[in-house]
């Protein structure tokens, strides 16, 4: 085996380790950017999809920069005894003479002392994890409190409501009927289509006694209340008034009637 082969292999190995570490750092940094972007989109009432744009851009730029910056110089900085030797050995892989052979042996013996932990900045890593932790808590806080600083979403029609990509399917009933057509665009009668559709399905509700303000243990029969004897203030009095019927088209009346028939 030529003397440069072990050196070539060692150099390749070191470069791979550096690449992996750089990718991990890039991933962590990108995650921080995503959390920050998400936080900002929430505060500005912008659809969270927009948080993906800076995240993707950052990831591409960061990975390109970090992968491009992989150099043996970094190894030499961490292991001063390898200073300039490693680069020289790597640049002269394939060449063979007495001096290069000696250099290769020297480099190989020194490279045995190189540890992966040399290239991991634990302080930096902890800082990044702490930053992610803080941003995550901030996100939980603002979402629970529904804090919105600026409403860019509605201003530029990029809010979650404006960009609800599933909204079109809400007017199609589960049995395939077009509810929008049925109501002739008049949703006032039926209320919100999504709520209306949900109303057709049996809903099973279970109240957790520990998380409810209602104490089910104190449940008792409703007492009849005698309103006739209720003392009313003297200044409150009732007068007869007139009620006027509005002219409602016959077909609308049928729709309403049918609706209530179906409900009952």
């Amino acid at each position: 085996m030529a003397s440069f082969e072990p050196v070539a292999r060692a150099v390749r190995e070191v470069k791979n380790v550096l690449l992996e570490i750089n990718l991990v750092y890039s991933f962590l940094d990108t995650l921080i950017i995503f959390l920050l972007s998400f936080f900002i989109t929430f505060l500005t009432n912008v659809h969270w999809y927009f948080a993906m744009i800076p995240t993707a851009l950052y990831f591409i730029l960061h990975v390109t920069k970090r992968v491009g910056s992989i150099s043996l110089l970094r190894v030499e900085e961490k292991v001063s005894s390898l200073s300039e030797q490693l680069r020289t050995a790597a640049d002269n892989v394939g060449r063979h003479n007495e001096i290069i052979d000696l250099l290769n042996n020297e480099v190989l013996s020194k490279m045995r002392d190189v540890k992966v932990s040399y290239f991991i900045d634990f302080k930096d890593l902890l800082g990044k994890i702490f930053a992610m932790f803080c941003i995550s808590f901030l996100i939980i806080f603002v979402t629970s409190m529904n804090v919105r600083l600026v409403n860019f979403g509605d201003m530029f029609h990029i809010s979650e409501k404006s960009l609800d990509f599933d909204r079109g399917s809400e007017n199609i009933a589960s049995d395939g009927r077009d509810l929008e057509a049925e109501t002739q665009g008049n949703s006032d009668i039926f209320g919100d289509p999504s709520v209306r559709e949900a109303g057709k399905n049996p809903i099973s509700l279970q109240l957790n006694p520990t998380e409810s303000e209602i104490n089910l243990n104190e449940f008792k029969e409703v007492e009849p209340k005698d309103f006739d004897n209720a003392p009313a203030p003297g200044e409150i009095s009732a007068q007869q008034d007139a009620a006027y019927d509005r002219e409602i088209a016959r077909e609308y009346k049928d729709v309403v009637k049918n609706y209530f028939d179906k409900i009952t």
């Binding site: 300039e84 640049d91 007495e98 001096i99 290069i100 000696l102 250099l103």
Partner: protein, 310 residues
């Protein structure tokens, strides 16, 4: 010189032996060794009395080399250096016999080269470049290893023939000798004014090893970015028109890399460092650049400009 692994230690021994005779001047000695290992020639510049001759003579002794000295004067003829044919009587017959001049040595110290006429300088330079001399119509090969270490006096320029830039370019290095420090001068006085002046020197490097050392020098590997840096420094001399009238030739690029390799080997390293390039840039470049009027007006020296380039 025992082996390649102990090369650094062997050179330390060379310096130790030199130090028995010469006080200080470590850098100068190292640069002279660099020139020898690169199979180049050096131009030494200093005021008189700084032990140039002593240094070279001692080095020749330690390296087991034949030493000769030529004191250049305006009336020195090329034949005084190269040698000439003399008539010799043998068996009653007269015939011409070549009498070799002082150039037929391994280390030749050409003292005050700028005092010789251009014709004599040219004869020296032919020997330097071609490692041969031509007398009449016959060419004589000089014995290897062959080095010329020429000296120049920076003062008393009256009646001198300064070497043209093209000829200076043929010297691998221009080495500057400076005055010794107070302590060193005190040591010089102790050693030479009170001592016997006799030193037992041992030959550390044999003549036959020098060719091998020169091969090793060429074999020293250099990283690509350091090589690029060296070439960048040399090309910068041609681009800095604000300070330099004429920059260094590509010969300087070869010289700086070779000198850095030799320095690395002398220091026992098997690779060239950036520091080697930076250090060797001064002796390699100082005689290869011509400062412009603006730099001279600012009272800048060649070394100041090189420092700025680095």
């Amino acid at each position: 010189m025992s082996s390649l692994t102990t090369i650094g230690k062997d050179f330390q021994d060379v310096f130790k032996e030199l130090g028995k005779v010469v006080v200080g001047q470590q850098e100068v000695m190292k640069q002279v060794l660099v020139a020898i290992m690169c199979n180049g020639n050096a131009l030494l510049e200093s005021v008189p009395g700084l032990a140039k001759t002593l240094t070279i003579k001692t080095l020749a002794e330690i390296m087991d080399l034949k030493f000769s000295r030529i004191q250049n004067t305006p009336d020195l003829m090329p034949s005084d250096i190269t040698g000439t044919y003399i008539i010799e009587e043998e068996d009653g017959k007269r015939k011409f016999k070549f009498q070799p001049g002082p150039i037929f040595a391994n280390i030749v110290l050409a003292d005050e080269i700028n005092r010789a006429t251009p014709k004599t300088q040219a004869a020296l330079l032919e020997a330097m470049q071609e490692k041969q001399v031509t007398v009449g119509n016959k060419t004589f090969k000089l014995e290897e290893p062959f080095f010329i270490l020429a000296t120049q006096n920076p003062i008393e320029q009256e009646g001198t023939y300064p070497l043209p830039e093209a000829q200076q370019d043929r010297f691998l290095l221009k080495i500057k000798l400076d005055y010794p420090s107070f302590e060193e001068e005190l040591e010089i006085v102790d050693r030479f004014a009170e001592g016997t002046g006799q030193f037992n020197l041992r030959a550390i490097v044999k003549k036959e090893h020098i060719a091998r050392l020169q091969t090793y020098t060429k074999q020293v590997p250099i990283a690509n970015d350091i090589k690029k840096y060296a070439v960048k420094v040399i090309t910068a001399t041609r681009q800095r028109k604000d300070l330099i009238e004429y920059g260094a030739s590509p010969r300087a690029s070869i010289a700086i890399v070779m000198a850095a390799k030799a320095k690395a080997l002398i220091e026992g390293r098997k690779f060239v460092s950036k520091e080697d390039i930076k250090e060797m840039a001064f002796p390699v470049l100082r005689h290869r650049i011509v400062l412009n009027f603006e730099a001279q007006r600012k009272n800048l020296t060649e070394d100041d400009v090189i420092k700025e380039l680095l």
